[in-house]
Amino acid sequence: MSISQYIFWFLSFVAVLSALIVVFAKNPIYSVLNLIITFFAIAGHYFLLNAQFLAAVHIIVYAGAIMVLFLYVIMMLNLNKETEPHKKQYVKLVAVVAAGLLMLTIIGSLKGAEAMVPAGIVNNNIGTVELIGDKLFGEFLLPFEVSSILLLSAMVGAVYLSKKELH
């Protein structure tokens, strides 16, 4: 096994394990912290796939911004182990079976994609900042600008919703 295979298995193990802890942890704070670990493992996968730009953006946006937002909300809502509601046991069992079946279905339907991978020489430097910036400010300029409008409207909406009095 090569070194990148070891790294792949390690990162996958960490990602899946901490994702499971996110779902099954009693305390919401543990869920958030394990979600951060999952995000770092996914960022590691991006590095492994040579997507340096996305790895950096992923860490900044998810681990840096979104998870801080989650932690703040949990802090303000004062959630802890005692206030945590639980579903009935048989509902959980049905959910596990349903999720397992969904997993089998998706894996079965995507498995054939490997045969479509072009056999030629693989381009090793896709995902560099230069190439992504080139695409983003060339072919995808309009979607890029529209996404800035989306972020602006989300900001306005969040500020409006969290005002004390809504009239």
Binding site: L48, L79, A98, V122
Partner: protein, 106 residues
């Protein structure tokens, strides 16, 4: 034919992202706390992002990674608005338990 880069086959990435996605689905189904459900939705988004990056790498096409950038922008907007809505629900109902919020139930 085994399509592999650095000895890691594309199928491994497909299986990994599917497992992460289904853990997210499972979380949405078995938890009642709205914030945890929200985090599981983020997990599902990330699983799809990972698969998109993997496909983009194995097919040698940058467009997939540009799409992931857009998905991240949408996810950030979604989290900001969603958490604001959650705060408002909590202020009115004093809970984040989704089974208490059943006023729309017929």
């Amino acid at each position: 034919m085994e399509a592999s880069i650095n000895g890691v086959s594309l199928n491994y990435y497909i299986i990994l992202s599917t497992v992460l996605f289904c853990i997210g689905v499972l979380g949405v189904m078995i938890r009642r706390n709205a914030i945890i459900m929200f985090m599981c939705i983020e997990l599902m988004l990330n699983a799809v992002n990972l698969l998109m990056v993997a496909f983009s790498r194995y097919f040698g096409d940058t467009n997939g990674q540009v799409f992931v950038v857009f998905i991240m922008a949408v996810a950030a907007a979604e989290v900001a608005v969603g958490l604001a809505i959650l705060m408002m629900i909590y202020r009115n109902a004093k809970t984040s338990d989704t089974e208490v919020l059943n006023q729309l139930k017929g």
